[in-house]
Symmetry: C2
Subunit: 343 residues, 2 copies
Amino acid sequence: MGNEEKEITIYDLARELDISAATVSRGLQGHPTVSKKTRKRINDLALSKGYRSNHFARNLRRQHTHTIGVIVPRLNSYFMSAVISGMENVATKAGFNLIISQSLENVTKEKANAATMFNNRVDGLLVSLAYDADESRHFDIFLQKKIPVIFFDRVPDSEHFTKILIDNRKSAKEATRHLLEQGCKRIAHITAISKRNVYADRMQGYKDALNDAGITFNKDLIVYNNLSYDAGYEAADLIRKLNPMPDGVFVANDNCAVSCMMGLKEAGIRIPQDIAFAGFNNDPVSKVIEPNLTTINYPGYEIGELAMRNLISYLNSDSTTTVTNTITMRSELIIRASSLRKS
Amino acid sequence: MGNEEKEITIYDLARELDISAATVSRGLQGHPTVSKKTRKRINDLALSKGYRSNHFARNLRRQHTHTIGVIVPRLNSYFMSAVISGMENVATKAGFNLIISQSLENVTKEKANAATMFNNRVDGLLVSLAYDADESRHFDIFLQKKIPVIFFDRVPDSEHFTKILIDNRKSAKEATRHLLEQGCKRIAHITAISKRNVYADRMQGYKDALNDAGITFNKDLIVYNNLSYDAGYEAADLIRKLNPMPDGVFVANDNCAVSCMMGLKEAGIRIPQDIAFAGFNNDPVSKVIEPNLTTINYPGYEIGELAMRNLISYLNSDSTTTVTNTITMRSELIIRASSLRKS
DNA sequence: TTGTATGCGTTATCAG
DNA sequence: CTGATAACGCATACAA
């Protein structure tokens, strides 16, 4: 009681225990060169006086912050929430703090965010790029200072960074092949216009599957939009007006797939009989839409955990060389009613 | 080029400009007592040398961090993502950093998180409480140190804190009354067992509406669960077996409402003809479920913005007295097909 | 096992 | 308008 006045420091403890501040500092850190006895005295007093170490002083001294920066395009998607949730979990356990910011799909803001993170002296950075980010040079400053940067989901082409992702191409191929196996002959693909790996790769997988089935790619069957809920409705119109109408649609994300399905259903088109659907992400809505949406499971929580675990283990292993590598996570096709045309 | 070696400090700038470090410091801060000319020289050199101020040294000196802590039950719900998104937006603009942690609905973890935030010397704290938090004494240390704490959504009873919420009671009453107006006579209520304001208040609103309609409260019509997606399915079973079956259900959250509707539909029960539904939150799934779910709009993004704006303006207005107040946001009933029985 | 001395980079106070 | 100097609280190299 009564100790809420002034912040207490190691000097206060030292004075009271009649030892040096250096010893207190060491004792608090559990340094083995401090006798067990004094160590206990120090800890006891610290506790009773409500001592808390001053992170600034410590960081100023040690030149690192125990803080990890995270930059994502948007916070408010189920996938991203799950990612952040996973990251937070392992970071907290390891005693690291997270500072999070969103680029809102805007490179300019992404650059500003990166600069802020840099000035805040984050120990490491976890990034998923904005839609329109066509370069990643604003992360080079981190490399120069040997601050590790790991990209996930939306990653740059550059070889200089570590990346965590799923095999988008393979998964997309799998989804498309599944539609083909269900008898679809004319499959549309809804995706985002973007240089980002994820969408380009999914498109490639779509093409691969067509190719394997001996079907020639038809660019008229590709719908580009921003994959939002609203965009899905509009896409439904486009698809309905294609002549002949496609008998299957592979959408690069569940959100958009779902609203597109709703638009089609309102127009009296039956799913999967008239058009079969497959999405991407395994967002919770995929289990609410009727019929339930066939999709690719994209394990956000696990990706978050993995990315953070990697970063931290790198940070702890005082290795000075930056090993860059690419980690590919498993992601499987989840078949649901929206694509089942054969019994 | 070539300046990626050692971090450059105000001393380096001072030496090069042949002035004192103190002047450099002042110049960098735009202090008016520095001549315009030297100010320009300082800033130019700082820029060209890639100088960045050391936050630790500055914070150590100034005794505050420009960091705001956020503690929430879970990150991965649409509502919470929206809240965080709003907070991040205004914090970044105001030059504050966010550190975020989740209690996972567990008071013990919540306490640990609070302690971490405290030790990290956050300038302020934004909190939404865990389910089972029956006390908020672990936030008293912040009060003692005059660190402002603002609660949102899940708030404590204590009068000592500022709170931001919607009028849960009124909204719940409105939703229930709407069901009554649609001809429902026997309305079930699905909610969480919790001392938390939100659920208690919604229950109260439910009772209010019944009361106004001259219907006596029947505790057999109350289903307690954790409001998860899975719990909704189970609730569907319970509701179906009530005898006579309810003709309306008011659920304390959309997620659970949606899965409950799905369970009922699978059992051949028609919505809204046999049972009308109303949820709470205006989660995106409410627009995907068929029929679309009537719900209460809970503006997460705006709540996040408001909470952060309040905190920051308090921080900036060097007022030492903690003014505690309660801010109630508007939240309206959104009527959709799940409850429309009259044409 | 412990103590002394010093520096980490800023900012604030006080003189000039 | 500018400079010298003293903190801020901690961790470590070096001595003892």
